[in-house]
Amino acid sequence: MFSKRDLEGYLEIDHRESPGFTSEEANAAGLRRVATDVGKGTRAQIPVVNCSHCQMHIIMNPLRTRDRAYCPKCDRYICDRCEMVRVASGGLCKPFTQVVDEFMEAAAKGMLKHGA
């Protein structure tokens, strides 16, 4: 049986022998959601998936209290930015695999705008 957890990759930030990030630095780095895990003397081992729509990394923060953004049409997790687009558009789903398919089809038909 398929589980979306089967897709999870592995992310490690090891600061056991390092000053790590202060919370200000973690904020600046865009890691504020896992700031407590990447400070001095710590090691974070985090599951991570890619947004189905834009491919950006989604860190599966266990402390998240909001719902994880999810696209029921492609049955994958998506990032918060793509979720905003999906909701605003009434449910638009364009996974990156579709972008690839359309690109390859256009290339096969000689319709690429910027081919090399």
């Binding site: 999870e8 930030i13 090891d14 390092s18 990030f21």
Partner: protein, 171 residues
């Protein structure tokens, strides 16, 4: 399909803002599709801190580029790119790998940061590996913004010396 590993022994990145042209030796690496329809998957990114003496928050980003590099692409000192399997046949169109460009340097895309690879270069380690092919980052063609990726330092922090590698696979 052929998996290759591009590595950088050691270098100190320079923090560069989005949509700002890089210059020589500032980024850890650029990968550009070898043809207009080439598809490459990125399987792994590893960065190890090498700063010797003081805290060095280094905000590395793996990102798509909104302006792709042009001219001959070359490695900086300590940069390598080789097949994981020595029996790998050469690709008809080789993925461009290297930090330097002869004509135009790339610019990182504002809207297409794919992974935040930040670490403290004073003793820190960053490592990511995809679990499945569909979870790899894809590089498609060789034009902006899907046809080139970069691993470089974003503004802020105090970038320190790092080394690392990236594993990618071209179809």
């Amino acid at each position: 399909m052929a998996r290759r590993i591009s590595a950088q022994t050691t270098f100190t990145p320079t923090a560069v803002a989005d949509t700002t042209a890089f210059t020589a030796g500032q980024a850890m690496g650029f990968w550009k599709g070898g043809s207009g329809t080439q598809l490459t998957r990125f399987w792994e990114i590893s960065i190890s801190g090498q700063a010797a003496s003081s805290s060095s928050p280094t905000f590395m980003l793996f990102s798509r580029d909104s302006t792709v590099g042009t001219g001959t692409q070359s490695q900086q000192t300590g940069g390598t790119d080789t097949a994981l399997d020595p029996a790998t046949a050469a690709l008809a169109a080789v993925v461009g790998v290297g930090s330097n460009w002869a004509t135009t340097f790339p610019q990182r895309d504002t809207a297409n940061h794919l992974a935040n690879c930040s670490l403290n270069a004073f003793g820190g380690v960053y490592f990511w590996r995809a679990n499945r092919a569909e979870e790899c980052f894809l590089m498609l063609g060789n034009t902006a913004s899907n046809g080139e990726c970069s691993l470089s330092a974003f503004t802020g922090g105090t970038p320190g010396a790092i080394g690392g590698h990236t594993i990618y696979e071209t179809q």
